[in-house]
Amino acid sequence: MSETLTAPPATPAETPGKRPSRVAEALWLVVPYVVSVVLAFVVGGLIIAAIGRDPIAAFESVLTTSFNTRFGTIETLHKWVPVLLCAYAFAIPLATGKFNIGAEGQLLVGATGGVALGILWSDLPMVVLLPCVLVAGALSGAVWAGIAAFLMTKFQVNEILSTVVLNFISFQLIDYVASHVWPDRGAGHPATTPVGEGALLPGIGQAPPMHTGVLLTVLLVIVIAVFMRRTSTGFEMRAVGANLRAAQVHGIRTSRLAGAGLVVGGAVAGLAGAIEVAGVHGKMLEGMQSNFLILGIIVGLMARGSMLALPFIAFGIAVLEVGAGSMQRTAQVPVEMVLIIEALILLFLLLSDIARAKIRRS
């Protein structure tokens, strides 16, 4: 596994005493992102032109929809929450060198846990019910990822495969819950009945309100940053990801830690599911996982080991995703174009490491 994945890109050995300035260091970090984004848009624009549409109009609506209207901004923030949480679900296990491709399943099972309490205890007041729903979501997600963690630590089952396979099991599970346990027959689409009033995240502002899950997520960003940087477990996780053998030699129980990373990742994805239920839908419905798994992985890979970069990158991706819909309406460019651009950004970012190494050497 290359080091660029799990740790901030290592700078080549410098002669002691002659350290580059902080500004130069920051530039080396930021410039590849800017260049990659620009290049991806150039290539994307060429594809759009090739299918006979106007790339300028397309990109204009992709980039401005989030900021033109209050509605667009709120939608972007609402999208930012699950994308970022799924990115954490990917990036936290990645810090220990494990790939969690199961954020989707963990999100859905988390949503199931949340919706179960929200329906069963629908009479409880909000102060009691809402925390219960959110905690149930996180716990359910943790249990779901825990299956993969158990198989990985006990039986050496590759976590990429187990987490992916669990996604497909979760699709059937929520289909069952939405069509047999608490079905909403009138919905015309597998969905559960609404949760109780007390299970809903309060909104801020009017028309449309922003749900407070956004603030909760901001809080979580700080908690995770502190956890990874300031606690011994966080340090151990980073040590395992940076150099497995060195960590083992120093007595870190690596396999347990890797399992714990998966479980924590699952809990974060489960929380995302509960927030989607409590903040956006008010119920659970099939397809609510959207493409958050893929977006989370993209964000997690783009951040390249930096937990601090995740929220910003996730916001950028949320802007693109919200813009994608309006791009399809105004410029008749299919929404999938945005996924291609995101994949291109990722590839160019990977290539930038090589370019950077070449430039630095000369």
Binding site: Q156, N158, V165, I169, L173, P334, L346, L350, L351
Partner: protein, 310 residues
């Protein structure tokens, strides 16, 4: 007896996507390239295979187009991992996303939104003369479309190449110890490149088979995780083509079983029946990772100038 014959007759074509994609995965895997973009390549293969068949009016051309486009993705993977030595998983995932996006884009561009989904003819059964007259076996094994025979032939060919030829022995050594292989004058980069291109092409063909065999329709979720199951299958078969055939029978059997149980309505909610293949995969992987072998340099890039081996 009739029940078993019918089950097996359905199972053989259901094996084809697993076989083609898993043998493709095994091929590049034995040279050390661990492709994780199968799911995306199968979706892209299904879309391109369908669209080209629809426009060209020939499933063969569609199949070839799917092989070609997935092969191009394989070439990118090979170049980025062998020449640029970028992480195989990350490049594979990026290609998975790009392939998903490309599949959706192409379908929307070519077909657009229509009232009636377009149809392509499904593949015809071509019974093999004489052999198909054997009671039971003839019906089960020798009365299928041509791609079924092709998939089995490719499996045998890959096995033959790897285990019965001298160059196959050299090829396998790359996945075990590329440094040793390199010192014997085996071209590591070339072997990894061609096997990844051909392997990815086979994955694309596996995807293209899906719209051609059952309904003649392309739907977005039709690959349904098979691309991921294929990776599990490669591990289960210990990255050996002959064992992969047996594993493919298991996965296809589960799929057919789930479908038939759903149709028969056995009192269990169908969602639990549809979980069956995936739950079985999880259980089987417990054994696969305990006892099955895997190439020791699987998923790792080779740098001639690096001292680290093993």
């Amino acid at each position: 007896m009739g029940e078993i014959t019918e089950f097996l007759t359905l199972m053989i074509p259901a094996m084809v996507p697993f076989l083609l994609a898993a043998q493709g995965t095994v091929l590049s895997g034995r040279a050390g390239v661990f492709n994780v973009s199968q799911e995306g390549l199968m979706v892209l293969g299904a879309a391109v295979g369908f669209l080209v068949s629809f426009k060209a009016g020939s499933n063969t051309v569609g199949m070839a187009a799917a092989f070609a486009i997935a092969g191009v993705f394989g070439l990118v993977l090979a170049y980025m991992t062998t020449q640029l030595r970028l992480d195989q998983f990350v490049v594979g995932l990026a290609l998975y996303f790009a392939a998903l996006g490309a599949a959706g884009l192409l379908y929307r561009e070519v077909i657009g939104i229509t009232m009636e989904p377009p149809l392509i003819p499904t593949l015809e059964d071509k019974p093999i003369p004489l052999l198909s007259d054997i009671p039971f076996l003839g019906e089960v094994l020798f009365d299928h479309d041509l791609v079924v025979y092709l998939a089995f032939a490719i499996s045998v060919a890959i096995w033959w190449f790897m285990y019965k030829t001298r160059s196959g022995l050299a090829f396998r050594s790359i996945g075990e110890n590329p440094k040793a292989a390199d010192s014997l004058g085996i071209n590591v980069t070339w072997a990894r490149t061609w096997s990844t291109v051909v392997g990815s092409g086979l994955v694309g063909m596996a995807g293209a088979y899906l719209p051609m065999v059952y309904t003649g329709l392309y739907t977005e979720g039709m690959v349904a995780g098979r691309g991921w199951l294929v990776i599990a299958l490669a591990f289960l078969g210990g990255w050996r083509p002959h064992l992969v055939i047996a594993g493919a029978a298991f996965f296809a059997g589960m799929e057919v079983l789930a479908l038939r149980a759903q149709v028969a309505g056995i009192g269990i909610p169908h969602q639990f029946v549809l979980m069956l293949p995936y739950v079985a995969t999880l259980l089987v992987m417990v054994f696969a990772f305990r006892w099955a072998r895997q190439p020791s340099f699987l998923g790792r890039n080779y740098d001639r100038e690096s001292r680290l081996v093993g």
